[in-house]
């Protein structure tokens, strides 16, 4: 009985700590007009051309990052499971490195390694820097993407599916795109939504590579405006929640379809 009382106390404390900043942000974002609540801060944000530019830039970057991430991770995870099971610990180790090496160090390396006087002068042009930033994002999302896809592959019989497809005359591209990918689609989707959430709010890489992304824009607003940052935080949090909600939905959906099949 005493234990239960303690549990409720702990829970209440946790609820307070986590709810107050969220409530505080929403309340603050509505305070722009003196004396009454209004959506003025949001109106200001949505009318700001810089918001639209940076936000769409980050959305496009996120989409490209997801495509590149899928193209790199799915074939690799599949190939490792099929042909090089012994290499799995090594590959897994490499995919976890971005969690160990701070992103600021990785981007520091990019700036020095790909400067204008190097063999691959990516930072020399806007397009090159965009590609570099996208590769940076793909690196950041690598641990999540790889783990999601690898877990998805564990649930299916890769070898049998491959042999069945081969005996029907399918080539590697067909096997990957029409047999393997549909089977791990839910895993790929949850990796993709997480990547989206990471890329939209990312600050360090975009700021140091000087690209007009949403993260640096938010930071700039934080330094210059009063109520708009709170509105931006509400928008950013909603996007994160939305992405996580989609992941939940995707997993739940797969659990249902799998249960029906068996």
């Amino acid at each position: 009985m005493k234990a239960r009382l303690w549990s409720w106390l702990v829970l209440a404390f946790g609820l307070l700590y986590f709810a107050l900043p969220l409530i505080g942000t929403v309340e603050f974002s509505l305070r722009k007009r003196r004396g009454e609540y209004s959506f003025d801060a949001y109106r200001w944000v949505f009318a700001d051309p810089q918001f639209r530019e940076t936000f769409s830039y980050s959305v496009i970057m996120a989409l490209f990052t997801i495509v590149v991430g899928i193209l790199i991770v799915v074939p690799t995870a599949y190939w490792v499971r099929l042909r090089f099971p012994r290499l799995r610990p090594l590959i897994e180790f490499v995919t976890l490195l971005p969690l160990v090496i701070p992103p600021i160090v990785i981007v520091f390396g990019y700036i020095r390694l790909y400067n204008t006087s190097s063999l691959l002068p990516l930072t020399g042009s806007a397009m090159g820097t965009n590609i570099l930033l996208m590769m940076g994002y793909a690196t950041l999302s690598l641990p999540y993407m790889y783990r999601a896809v690898d877990t998805g592959l564990r649930a299916i019989d890769v070898r049998t599916l491959t042999e069945a497809a081969q005996s029907l005359g399918a080539g590697w591209i067909t096997i990957l795109s029409r047999v393997i990918l549909p089977n791990v689609l839910v895993a790929v989707l949850s990796g993709a939504f997480l990547t989206f959430a990471i890329v939209i709010g990312e600050f360090v890489m975009a700021a140091l590579l000087n690209r007009p992304a949403f993260g640096p824009y938010m930071q700039l607003m934080g330094a210059n405006r009063a109520y708009e940052p709170a509105a931006l935080a509400v928008i950013a949090f909603s996007i994160t929640w939305f992405c996580m909600g989609l992941i939940q939905l995707a997993t739940r959906f797969s659990a249902h379809s799998r249960a029906k099949r068996s």
Binding site: A3, R4, L11, T76, L97, V100, P102, Q219, T240, M244
Partner: protein, 293 residues
Amino acid sequence: MSAETTTIERARTGLPLAWLGLAPFAIFATLFLILPTMYIVVGAFQTADGTPTLRNIVNLFQPSILAAYWISIRISFATALLGCLIGFAIAASVTLGGLPKPIRGPIMTFSGVASNFAGVPLSFAFLATLGRVGLVTVLLREWFGVNIYSLGFNLLSFWGLTLVYLFFQIPLMVLIITPALDGLRREWREAADILGASGLQYWRMVALPILTPSLLGTFALLFANSFGAVATAYALTGSSLSIVPIVLFAQIRGDVLQDPHLGYALAFGMIVVTGVANGLYVWLRARTERWTR
């Protein structure tokens, strides 16, 4: 026999063709993860004209840089410790504390989301809540006549930053430690009861020794997690709080140390700290798995 099957046959015999399948990943990882990191690490041990040296590492031991590392380590330590304690309390309440079952799902989902909240928006959220005109600050003043800022509280300080970091540290702890708490078998508790152990004795002599590796491991992970975080601190304090990532940020932008190779050494130091912390986590986790098998 089509050309396709012959390739498969050749791949099956173990000829280099099978290795080609790993090439995209290998190229990607080398170009955008390993080479950039190596460049920094090697640069930390070189002079400007490329001769090997330890001078950069020695130069790290100057008061201003040591102070940056010290405050970073203290913040990471404080957030990791408090994150572990509070996260453990929440996870224990949910798994063992007899709370109604249905609240567990939402708490785990929320933890998954909140552990990803680190970044610029999080600092805005706390400024809007505990800043000088934030919701809680104002309410405390109007309802209770308590002005936390005249009591010495400041969000842009050591404890302020710790309070903000806990918002993503606690959920991470909850996510990692809940499975470990689920792994505590009911039989162990019953066996302890039968042998006459009190609740406290069960925790001190059975549960905690089993959980210690996971607790220490998660502590190391939380430590690394907060040591590498930049965006939250930068958006919150600008450059007024000189933690290592912020000094490095300023160094990359404008060479404030006036020595590029000292910058590499600074970054190398960060890799060492987060590397050791993560290594501890992996090692301790391997030890935990003995019990959960």
